[in-house]
């Protein structure tokens, strides 16, 4: 009887959460992105040879760099927010402000990184 639990990934992403929900999603994306990158990177360094160099070329390309910088920076800054709030739950009442601070730190930092990456790519390093 009835429909099964009605949560597809699409539906879940469609939930109108606010800032913290978005950061939660991005944190996961960042974490998984990094895990894959580091795994491949370590594997490539460990193996060496042509395969390693091929992988090296991929993650030295600028679009990949933009992606992985996002993963690292966002995961790190958001992780710091979560850690601070988690260890001092009293601060959780200020979670809205915490999100603002987080973006105030992340956006300029990441924008600068993207600028550097893109300008390096355009000038050929």
């Amino acid at each position: 009887m009835g429909m099964t639990r009605n949560v597809s990934l699409f539906k879940a992403l469609g939930y109108k959460g606010k800032g913290p929900f978005l950061t939660f999603i991005l944190h996961r994306i960042g974490g998984i992105g990094m895990a894959v990158f580091i795994a491949v990177h370590v594997l490539a360094s460990f193996m060496g040879g042509p395969a390693g160099r091929f992988l090296n070329d991929i993650y030295e390309s600028w679009p990949f760099q933009i992606f992985i910088y996002f993963c690292v920076m966002f995961h790190a800054i958001n992780g710091l927010r979560i850690t601070i709030l988690d260890l001092w739950p009293k601060l959780l009442e200020y979670q809205r402000e915490a999100i603002w601070v987080e973006f105030a730190v992340f956006i300029p930092l990441y924008a600068f990184s993207v600028y550097v990456i893109v300008s390096n790519a355009l000038t050929g390093g």
């Binding site: 996961r28 974490g31 998984i32 990094m34 895990a35 580091i38 795994a39 370590v42 594997l43 360094s45 460990f46 760099q65 910088y69 690292v72 790190a76 992780g79 710091l80 979560i82 850690t83 988690d86 260890l87 600068f112 990184s113 550097v116 990456i117 390096n120």
Partner: protein
């Protein structure tokens, strides 16, 4: 009215593996931030200001391993390849692998509910964690 402080003894407060890993995830995050900071300060002391660009400093902070900076214009690679940085980089790899693998387990826990499934995930994760830690250590030691 006077109140007795209420404290649950360690064995009964539910501080089990799950919560230990929860705490570890937070503490390891702080540790990684600290290591990145140390790497950054170290890089500045070792002359990164004159010889490296932003991207290279970032890469060095990400893992303070000499291979991450050897293609830059640094005149003297020796301080960057010291035992100290090797140990720092290896500590980071160990912490990061544990942190990351546990993160993946947490994600898997959200979707895999059956006890057997969870056991399998944990088994795979432990194997993966050890393998990648060893590979990481190997790469750093011999670079």
């Amino acid at each position: 009215m006077k109140r007795q402080p209420r404290v649950v003894p360690l064995s009964k407060r539910g501080f089990n593996f799950e919560m230990q890993m929860w705490l570890f995830t937070r503490l390891s995050a702080l540790a990684m931030h600290a290591i990145a900071l140390v790497a950054f300060v170290g890089a500045m002391v070792m002359g990164a200001r004159y010889h490296m660009n932003f991207a290279d400093v970032m890469r060095w902070m990400f893992t303070p391993n000499v291979t991450h900076v050897q293609s830059t214009n640094l005149p003297d690679l020796d301080p960057w390849a010291s035992l100290f940085w090797k140990l720092v980089a290896m500590a980071l790899v160990l912490i990061a692998t544990a942190h990351g693998v546990h993160g993946l387990v947490v994600i898997a826990d959200d979707y895999i509910v059956k006890p057997l499934g969870r056991k399998i995930v944990r088994l795979i994760s432990i194997v993966t964690m050890i393998a990648f830690s060893l590979m990481g250590l190997y790469v750093i030691w011999f670079s």
